[in-house]
C-alpha cells in the first residue's frame, strides 16, 4: 500500500505543478519569441542546385548527393495529397528558404564568451542547462566540463542545422552513437547507407520525398547489440528564421536486444506567415530490442484568428524488423496550424509489439489529422492504440488510423481506443478507422467515444475553489490520463502544462 501511495503522491505533485505553470504563463504561447541572429541563407526556392548546395554545406559524399537528387527528380513529378481532413491555402514551394544556419557556426567559439549571446539566450529560454548550452553552442572542450543535474543527452536543431549534441563522450563509452545526421553521414556512412530510407523510402509520399531531397539536418542514433542506452536521448527542434522550411531527418537504429528512449520537443516563434515543417523519422528495431519515442509538439499554432502557424507534415515510421521487437510512440500534439502525422508501426518480426499513445489538442482555428498505422506482418504480433482528441474553439480534430492484419500475421491482436472531447459548440471531432483483417485467427477491437466537457463538472470544480481555467485543465488532464502516464516523467509534466495552456480561452 505504501508503494501505491507514493505513486499517488508523485502524480499529485505533477498536477500541482501544472496548475502553477499554467498560471505563471498566463496562457500565452510561451515559445513565441524570435531570436535575432545573423543567418546564412540559401536563395529561396528549391531546385537541383539547392539540393546540391545543401549536400555541399553538409560536406556529404557523392552517394548521398545522388540519393537526394533522385528523390528530387521523383518529387517534381508528384502531387500534394488532399485526402486528409485539413484545409489550407496552396503552399508555394518556391517561396520558402530551404537552408538557413546561424552565422556563428562558421568559426568554432573558444568559450561561452565568444558565442552569440542570443543563441545562448535561446537555449536558456528552452530550459536547456548551462553545460549543455556550451556543448550545443560548439564551445571547444565543453564536453570535458563535468555535467550536473539530470542526464538527458540533447541534440538541438536550429532552423536547418544541428548545433550540437551533448554527453557524446559518455554515450560513446556505452557504444551508443548519438549525433547529428550530417555528422553520421560523414563519420558512419556504412550505418547510414544500410538503414537510411529503408523504413520510409524516398518514394513514400509527397512530403517524405521532398524531405529526402532537401533535409538539412536531424538526429542519428545507433544503439549496439545488448546495450541499454544509459540516458534518455532528446532532440529540440526550433524553427527561428522567417519563411524557412524545416526538414529534419531522424534515423534511430536499435540493434539486437538493445533499448533506447528518445524524446523530441519542438517550438517556433510567433509569425504572421505560415511556416512549413516536413520531417521524416525512421526507426529500425532489431530482434528483442525496444524503442520508446515520445514527442511533445508545440509548434506555433497561429493566433486566435487563424493567422500564421506551422504546417506540420510529418512521416514517422518504426519497423520492428526482428522477432520480439517492441516500439512505443507517445505523442502530445498541441501546436501547429495544420497537423498531418501518422506515426506507424510495421510489425514484421514474430511476436513483435507496437503501441501508439496520442493526445491531439486543437484550439481556435487549428486543424489536426493524426493517427497511426499498425501493419501486422508477423505471427502473434500485438498492437495497442490509445488516442485522445480534444477540440476547442473552431478547431477540427480527426483521428485516422489503419489496422492491417496480413495473411501470415496469425494470432495477432489489436486494441484501439479512440476518445474525443469537445469544448464548446463550434469545433468538430472525426474518427476515421480503417481495418483490414486477412486471416481468421487474429482479433481486432475498436472502441470510440465522444464527450463534452460539461458545465456540471466545471461548476463542481469551481465550487471547490478552482478557477475556470484550472477546472478545464483538470478535467482535460483527467481525460488524457492514460496517455500522460505513458510519457517519461519530465515530459509528462511539460505535457500537462501544455494541455492547459493550449486550451487557454476555450471556455467562458
Amino acid at each position: 500500500m505504501t508503494a501505491l501511495d507514493n505513486q499517488t503522491e508523485v502524480r499529485d505533485g505533477v498536477d500541482r505543478e501544472t496548475v502553477e505553470t499554467v498560471q505563471s504563463m498566463a496562457g500565452t504561447y510561451k515559445y513565441g519569441w524570435n531570436t535575432d541572429i545573423e543567418m546564412d541563407y540559401a536563395p529561396k526556392g528549391v531546385n537541383t542546385d539547392i539540393v546540391r548546395l545543401i549536400s555541399g554545406k553538409n560536406e556529404e559524399p557523392e552517394w548521398m548527393t545522388d540519393w537526394r537528387l533522385s528523390a528530387y527528380a521523383r518529387w517534381e513529378k508528384m502531387t500534394e495529397p488532399t485526402w486528409a481532413m485539413v484545409h489550407y491555402p496552396p503552399i508555394d514551394y518556391q517561396d520558402q528558404y530551404y537552408y538557413a544556419r546561424p552565422k556563428s557556426m562558421d568559426v568554432k567559439p573558444k568559450s561561452l564568451d565568444d558565442v552569440d549571446p542570443k543563441l545562448l539566450a535561446t537555449y536558456e529560454k528552452l530550459g536547456i542547462p548551462l553545460k549543455e548550452q556550451m556543448v550545443l553552442a560548439g564551445v571547444e572542450g565543453a564536453e570535458d566540463v563535468p555535467a550536473e543535474g539530470r542526464k538527458v543527452a540533447v541534440d538541438a536543431v536550429f532552423d536547418s542545422v544541428s548545433v550540437g549534441t551533448t554527453f557524446q563522450a559518455e554515450l560513446k563509452k556505452a557504444g551508443v552513437i548519438f549525433c547529428s545526421i550530417s555528422e553520421a553521414i560523414r563519420e558512419h556512412p556504412e550505418l547510414v547507407k544500410k538503414y537510411l530510407g529503408t523504413v520510409v523510402p524516398p518514394s513514400d509520399n509527397f512530403f517524405a520525398t521532398l524531405n529526402s531531397a532537401v533535409f538539412s539536418d536531424g538526429s542519428f542514433v545507433y544503439v549496439p547489440p545488448g546495450v541499454r542506452c544509459p540516458m534518455e536521448l532528446s532532440t529540440y527542434f526550433r524553427i527561428n528564421a522567417e519563411n524557412t522550411g524545416q526538414f529534419e531527418r531522424t534515423l534511430i537504429i536499435a540493434d539486437k536486444g538493445s533499448y533506447v528512449s528518445y524524446l523530441e520537443g519542438c517550438t517556433a516563434p510567433k509569425r504572421d506567415t505560415t511556416q512549413l515543417h516536413a520531417a521524416v523519422v525512421e526507426i529500425i528495431i532489431e530482434e528483442d530490442a525496444e524503442v520508446k519515442y515520445s514527442t511533445v509538439q508545440n509548434w506555433y499554432p497561429g493566433d486566435e484568428n487563424g493567422k500564421g502557424g506551422i504546417f506540420n507534415f510529418v512521416t514517422k515510421r518504426a519497423d520492428c524488423r526482428g522477432d520480439r521487437a517492441k516500439v512505443m510512440w507517445t505523442q502530445v500534439e498541441t501546436g501547429s496550424a495544420v497537423t498531418w502525422k501518422y506515426p506507424s508501426c510495421i510489425l514484421r518480426g514474430d511476436d513483435s509489439q507496437g503501441e501508439f499513445y496520442s493526445i491531439a489538442i486543437a484550439n481556435n482555428y487549428q486543424q489536426a489529422d493524426t493517427g497511426t498505422k499498425m501493419v501486422h506482418l508477423g505471427k502473434n504480433t500485438k498492437s495497442r492504440i490509445v488516442s485522445k482528441g480534444i477540440s476547442a474553439g473552431k478547431a477540427q480534430n480527426t483521428y485516422r488510423g489503419l489496422v492491417s492484419m496480413h495473411p501470415k500475421a496469425k494470432n495477432s491482436r489489436n486494441y484501439t481506443q479512440c476518445d474525443s472531447l469537445l469544448i464548446g459548440g463550434d469545433c468538430g471531432a472525426h474518427t476515421v478507422p480503417y481495418i483490414e483483417v486477412r486471416n481468421n485467427s487474429s482479433r481486432v477491437e475498436h472502441e470510440a467515444t465522444t464527450s463534452k466537457v460539461d458545465d456540471d463538472q466545471l461548476f463542481y470544480c469551481r465550487q471547490r475553489g478552482m478557477d475556470e481555467e484550472e477546472a478545464v485543465a483538470l478535467v482535460v488532464n483527467g481525460f488524457c490520463r492514460e496517455v500522460l502516464q505513458a510519457l517519461p516523467m519530465e515530459f509528462a509534466m511539460e505535457a500537462q502544462a501544455l494541455v492547459a495552456i493550449s486550451l487557454e480561452g476555450s471556455v467562458g
Binding site: 500500500m1 501505491l4 501511495d5 499517488t8 503522491e9 502524480r11 499529485d12 505533485g13 498536477d15 500541482r16 496548475v19 458545465d455 456540471d456 463538472q457 461548476f459 463542481y460 470544480c461 469551481r462 465550487q463 471547490r464 475553489g465 478552482m466 478557477d467 475556470e468 484550472e470 483538470l474 478535467v475 488532464n477 483527467g478 481525460f479 488524457c480 490520463r481 492514460e482
Partner: protein, 251 residues
C-alpha cells in the same frame, strides 16, 4: 454568518420565477434546516448561493459575513468559506480523488494568500479524516465519484467538506439515497465539524436526517418562500402530518 434578504430568482432561459422573496439569517455556529415539498425552491436556493449558472437574481441580497455573495465567482465564494455538498456529486473521469481535493485545497489557500499545503502534510491530514468517514486508501485514489455507490459519493462530499474547512456549509439533500447506516456515518461526519465558527444549512425532505443532525432552527419552504420557522419540533410535525396542513394554513 449567512444573511439572505428578500431574494427573488428566476430561470435565466425562461420567464419562470422560482424564489419569491426568501429571508433567512443563520448565526455563527448554528444549524438551520430547510424542509419542503418537491419544487419548493430548496435546491435552487443552494445553487444560487453557490453561484451556479442558469439563474438570474431579480431582487434581494445574500451576504456571507458581510461580503456580498452574489457579486462573486463560484470559486471566490468557495474561498470565502461557502461549501455546497451536492445532491448529485459529479463524476470526473481520470482525475484521482486525492488530486482533485489537493488542487481544491491549495486553490483556496492561494486565493486567501496562505501557503500551499505540501504533499506530505496533505496526505497526513486526508488520511486521518478519511479514516473517520470509513473511506479507505483505495477510494482516495479512484477517479472522483466514478463508480462510487450512492453512500460513497455522499461520504466523499463530507470528506471534501472536512478538508476544505468551510465556514458556511450547505447540505443539499445529503440524506437522499442513503440507508440508515450510511446516513449515520454522514451525520457523524457533519456533527464532528460542528463548532462555534461554522454554520450549517441542511436541506432535506425528511425529518430522519434531523434525528442525527440536531438543528437549532427549522424552516418550511413552499412555492419559493419560507412559510414557517420554528424549533426542531416543527420537523416532527411535518413528519407526522405531512406538508399539507402547513400549506393549507398558509392559504
Amino acid at each position: 454568518m449567512l444573511e439572505i434578504k428578500n431574494l427573488h430568482v428566476k430561470l435565466e432561459e425562461e420567464d419562470k420565477q422560482i424564489l419569491k422573496g426568501v429571508n433567512l439569517t443563520v448565526g455563527a455556529g448554528q444549524v438551520h434546516a430547510i424542509m419542503g415539498p418537491n419544487g419548493s425552491g430548496k435546491s435552487t436556493l443552494s445553487y444560487v448561493l453557490s453561484g451556479r449558472g442558469g439563474y438570474e437574481v431579480t431582487e434581494g441580497a445574500a451576504t456571507l459575513n458581510g461580503t456580498d455573495l452574489l457579486d462573486l465567482e463560484p470559486e471566490e465564494r468557495a474561498a470565502a468559506g461557502l461549501f455546497l455538498a451536492f445532491q448529485y456529486p459529479v463524476e470526473i473521469p481520470g482525475v484521482g480523488n486525492m488530486t482533485f481535493l489537493r488542487t481544491a485545497v491549495n486553490a483556496q489557500r492561494k486565493a486567501r494568500g496562505e501557503d500551499e499545503l505540501s504533499a506530505t502534510d496533505f496526505l497526513k491530514v486526508i488520511r486521518a479524516k478519511a479514516k473517520d468517514l470509513q473511506i479507505d486508501a483505495e477510494m482516495l485514489k479512484r477517479p472522483v465519484n466514478v463508480g462510487f455507490s450512492g453512500g460513497e459519493k455522499k461520504r466523499n462530499e463530507i470528506l471534501q467538506m472536512a478538508m476544505l474547512e468551510p465556514k458556511m456549509c450547505i447540505l443539499d439533500e445529503t440524506d437522499s439515497g442513503l440507508d440508515v447506516d450510511a446516513m449515520k456515518l454522514v451525520a457523524d461526519g457533519v456533527n464532528a465539524l460542528r463548532d462555534a465558527g461554522r454554520s450549517f444549512l441542511v436541506i432535506t425532505h425528511y425529518q430522519r436526517l434531523l434525528d442525527h443532525i440536531k438543528p437549532d432552527v427549522v424552516h418550511i419552504m413552499a412555492d419559493g418562500k419560507i412559510i414557517k420557522t420554528g424549533g426542531p419540533e416543527l420537523a416532527l410535525e411535518v413528519e407526522n402530518n405531512g406538508y399539507a396542513d402547513l400549506l393549507e394554513e398558509r392559504v
